[in-house]
């Protein structure tokens, strides 16, 4: 019964597999919502489970269960955003939801895997599902096909590099179990081989997180995939990747000075590059892609502290990142007519046309920028503190400067929707559900900013 969250997600996916064989496709979305809530409920109940499966390759502890709950929450929110049927052919709806489910399943398996082979398998389960759903987009030219192929190639390459690194780790430690590796690997972390092996292994997760140097796919895929697909790719897989990033860096323990230095450089380049290129973006999804690259850098600040505080801060940050990103993407989903991409100019006059949407976007953008009292600030504060505490002053200052740089393009989102006046402003009608979801996002972002203690304590226990 320990694997109930995974099991329920699997059943969810299978249900939609059968639905896709039938004729009636339009009920898929309606069915998906209650089912996803059930998954969320089961994951929340299962938070305290613990145990081991498959001769120690699959561990269920607070760490993995917390991540499963976050993944389930993100998944549930994405399913609830699937309201407007203007992006994906209705005929593909059951399949689409099925693949989302499989991807979430892969991620849930990923956070519980403590053995290299099962990590790879779980990661691939999650990735392959995404390869399939990226081209599912209505009424576009070839842009989504291109995105899909790119994602596939980049994914394959990063998996290859990751496997290469894992082979080194195996060569050093003669084991694929993390519990065995951690006994040997810290001893070689001051040698090039150890650093090399671990960094290469992490590449697969850098890819998912879109961290430099594995970030190239993000802008194109965000732009090419449909809005809801992008929403999923931009949020949920990153949670799983962050979990594994934390798990794997734990292997380095305290002896990895060079390893940490490499992570610092990657984090610094990632945030600077993401923010600088983000400044000139017009397409909001591309903008958010670059913002995602920068945020991967921020997240790494917590990880590279290699301390309990740092890991807890990273988990806190990835959670708030999920919410604030979802808030921004949800506005795009609601705003886009016929599933087209939204550019900055489309936001003009949004505060007149739909005040709630403009407010949701503003809260999301300010949170991404890290302005109190939003969760983005609180999360960033924890990250800065944990990195600073371990003496990484340089990266804290780079992060602080980056925060100041990034405010320009986040503010642009707010500025477009608030200060520019539209010539013709036809109001956007929102249904009750859509309004409720917007309010939920606003609430979550503010809640995590003002009341961080409960969640933070759980995360500190988990690491």
């Amino acid at each position: 019964m320990m694997i109930l969250p995974e099991l329920s997600t699997l059943i969810f996916a299978i249900v939609f597999l059968f639905l896709s064989l039938g004729k009636k496709k339009d009920s898929a979305v309606l069915l998906a919502k209650p089912l996803s809530i059930i998954i969320l409920g089961i994951s929340l109940v299962g938070v305290l489970a613990s145990g081991q499966l498959f001769s120690g390759a699959y561990r269920i502890d607070l760490f993995s269960q917390v991540f499963k709950a976050i993944i389930a929450y993100g998944f549930c929110l994405v399913i609830f955003m699937l309201d407007r049927r203007n992006e994906i052919e209705e005929a593909y709806f059951p399949e689409y939801i099925m693949f989302l489910g499989f991807s979430a399943l892969g991620l849930m398996m990923l956070v519980s895997s403590v053995e290299l082979i099962s990590i790879v398998i779980a990661l691939e389960v999650s990735s392959y599902s995404l390869y399939v759903i990226i081209p599912l987009r209505k009424g576009q030219t070839n842009i989504q096909i291109e995105a899909s192929v790119k994602y596939l190639f980049f994914g394959a390459i990063s998996t290859g590099i990751m496997l290469f690194g894992m082979s080194y780790i195996y060569g050093i430690t003669k084991s694929t179990f993390l519990s065995d590796i951690i006994k040997v690997l810290p001893g070689v972390m001051n040698q090039p081989i150890g650093v090399f092996a671990l960094i290469l292994t992490l590449t697969g997760f850098f890819f998912k997180l879109s961290l430099f140097p594995m970030h190239f796919w993000a802008p194109d895929i965000y732009e090419g995939a449909s809005n809801t697909t992008t929403t999923f790719i931009a949020t949920v897989p990153k949670i799983g990747a962050a979990a594994l990033l934390i798990r794997m860096t734990m292997l380095a323990s305290a002896s990895g000075v060079q390893f940490v230095n490499i992570l610092i450089v990657l984090a610094a380049i990632s945030m600077t590059l993401g923010n600088l290129v983000g400044l000139v973006q017009k397409d909001i999804k591309r903008l958010l892609a670059y913002s995602g690259i920068a945020h991967a850098g921020y997240l790494l600040m917590g990880v590279l502290a290699l301390s309990k505080d740092g890991y807890a801060a990273a988990i806190y940050y990835i959670t708030i990142y999920l919410f604030m990103n979802l808030a921004c993407f949800y506005v795009l989903v609601l705003l886009s007519k016929d599933g087209k991409n939204v550019v900055l100019d489309d936001l003009v006059g949004l505060s007149k046309r739909a005040p709630l949407l403009a407010f949701t976007l503003a809260v999301g953008a300010f949170s991404l920028a890290g302005i109190p009292p939003t969760g983005g600030f609180t999360g960033k504060l924890f990250l800065f503190m944990s990195a600073f505490r371990e003496g990484h002053l340089a990266i804290v200052i780079i992060g602080a400067v980056n925060t100041a740089i990034s405010i320009f393009y986040y503010l642009n989102l707010v500025r477009m929707s608030y200060s520019k006046e539209a010539g013709s402003a036809d109001p956007i009608q929102l249904t009750f559900n859509e309004k409720a979801l917007c309010c939920i996002f606003i609430f979550l972002v503010l809640y995590m900013g003002i009341v961080p203690f409960g969640l933070l304590d759980i995360f500190r226990l988990a690491v």
């Binding site: 505060s351 302005i371 009292p373 800065f384 600073f388 503010l411 707010v414 608030y418 200060s419 500190r460």
Partner: protein, 497 residues
């Protein structure tokens, strides 16, 4: 909790007065969201802010001028994992800044009564949120709490400029936001550095500790960038004229009267007690920048044709006096700086209100368009004259007292700086009198412009009273702030010896 009583006198009233004063406007703002109809929205906002003023007078009447600790303290743990608490308390430095804020809030709402035509609800919402954040900044005794209020203020202020601003609002609002945020991130880094050195986010706890000079050096620099941008001191002032000019009247008033004070407040509250050695080390530079600001501001004012811009640049000069007083390291200088902060808040706020009044009638901020009002709007010119002469520190007005204190303080430290600031004070007379002359007698032609309405007189009257009261009888003000500043002075002396 134990260490708390060393510097904090807990609130003995049966209700948390500081929290009420802070969050009442927020509650009013949330109430506004559920209201329809412009009039009821305006009335609700006005009543909320008016109620808040007498509440803040309760603080004033209960304030113990003999105590050298923070008063009306409140303490609630907030994020225990990082030792972050919700701690409030006020002392002589903050009490009048809070009163100033609560006094100006209803005036700002009154002055926007007809000036704001679009999106009244959002406007009032922003104003009330601003009030909450501003009072919060002055009450917070925890770094993180302080920072949250400090930053949270940016968003409503940005919106005030960006939505209801003048023609160039886009540029001005972005510049304001990015400039201040840039300073704030360094503030955050400094806060974390202090936290890691002391293990606490409590502001009074971090004061007067034995940090190494190197540490103080860098922390001071990080603090100073944030506060110098906010004040604004000379090379960092460029956001100010743009933001002041484009903001709606209420925004300009809040910006000039309260937001700028946060910079000088930051110097007094953070730089001096936490990094005393570095403050002394940097004092010559800060004094130089202040003097440059005073003279530069005065010279630029002489060539302005836009009323709002002129007043904005005069702010640079006036705030130069405040920083000058702070870095004179004398009790006189500090008292002068604090008085100057209040005076500038009242006088410049009033001048912006005056510009707003005439702007509503002529829809122009150019001096020429508004010239020659002497015969057309006698009551208006009366008020305007009072505030202008107060602005260049005419004896008998409030600014005279403040500048005098500052000059006494600075002359005891540096004759040269004192001399140049006298030059700046003369420049102030030159540009203000030039403005006043133009407004009163500048044009002969007859125009139809209505004089002030009762509502407008109502919101200028308290400020005018304050100008005269403070100018003739400053003792009540000085005696409240005296004890805190003397305590600060003796603590610093112990530390520097």
């Amino acid at each position: 909790m134990m260490a708390l009583h060393k510097y904090l006198i807990m609130n003995t009233l049966c209700y948390p007065i500081l929290s009420i004063v802070i969050f009442l406007p927020l509650a009013g703002a949330i109430l506004l969201l559920f209201m329809r109809g412009e009039r009821s929205v305006k009335m609700t906002a006005l009543i909320t802010s008016i109620i808040n003023f007498p509440l803040s007078l309760i603080i004033y009447s209960g304030f113990d001028i003999g105590a050298d600790k923070f008063q009306f303290g409140e303490f609630i743990p907030w994020i225990p994992a990082y030792n972050i608490n919700y701690v409030l308390g006020i002392d002589g430095i903050t009490i009048f800044l809070i009163l100033l804020t609560t006094l100006l809030a209803p005036l700002c709402i009154l002055c926007s009564w007809t000036a704001i035509e679009r999106r009244v609800k959002e406007f009032m919402f922003c104003l009330l949120i601003m009030e909450t954040a501003m009072i919060g900044v002055f009450c917070a005794l925890d770094f993180i709490l302080f920072y949250v209020f400090w930053e949270a203020m940016l968003i409503p202020m940005y919106l005030l400029i960006a939505i209801w601003g003048g023609p160039n609002k886009d540029y001005a609002s972005i510049k304001f936001f990015i400039y201040t945020l840039f300073g704030s991130v360094f503030l955050l880094v400094a806060i974390i550095a202090v936290y890691l050195a002391t293990g606490t986010f409590s502001i009074p706890d971090a004061m007067f500790r034995d940090y190494g000079f190197n540490f103080q050096f860098w922390v001071f620099l990080a603090f100073a960038i944030a506060f110098a941008i906010k004040v604004p001191m000379f090379p960092f002032h460029t956001w100010l004229p743009a933001a002041h000019t484009e903001a709606p009247t209420a925004g300009s008033v809040f910006l000039a009267s309260v937001l700028l004070k946060m910079g000088t407040y930051g110097f007094l509250r953070f730089c001096l007690p936490i990094t005393p050695k570095a403050s002394v080390f940097f004092a010559p530079y800060m004094i130089a920048l202040s003097v440059i600001g005073i003279i530069y501001g005065g010279l630029v004012c002489l060539s302005q044709t836009d009323m709002k811009k002129l007043i904005a640049y005069s702010s640079v000069a006036h705030m130069g006096f405040a920083t000058l007083g702070i870095f004179s390291f004398t009790v006189f200088g500090w008292e002068g700086a604090l008085l100057q902060m209040l005076n500038h808040g009242v006088t410049t706020g009033a001048l912006f209100l005056c510009v707003g009044i005439v702007y509503e009638r002529t829809h122009s901020r150019e001096i020429y368009d508004n010239a020659g009002l002497g015969k057309i709007m006698p009551a208006y010119v009366g008020f305007f004259g009072l505030f202008s002469i107060s602005s260049f520190a005419f004896p008998g007005t409030n600014n005279f007292v403040g500048e005098l204190y500052v000059l006494i303080g600075i002359f005891s430290q540096s004759k040269l700086a004192g001399f140049f600031s006298i030059v700046g004070a003369l420049l102030a007379a030159a540009y203000m009198l030039r403005l006043l002359k133009q407004i009163v007698w500048g044009r002969e032609d007859k125009r139809e412009i209505a004089d002030m309405k009762a509502r407008e007189v109502i919101y200028l009257l308290p400020l005018a009273l304050f100008v005269v009261w403070m100018g003739l009888f400053p003792r009540p003000f000085v005696q409240v702030i005296e004890k805190t500043l003397m305590n600060l002075h003796s603590q610093m002396n112990i530390f520097l010896r």
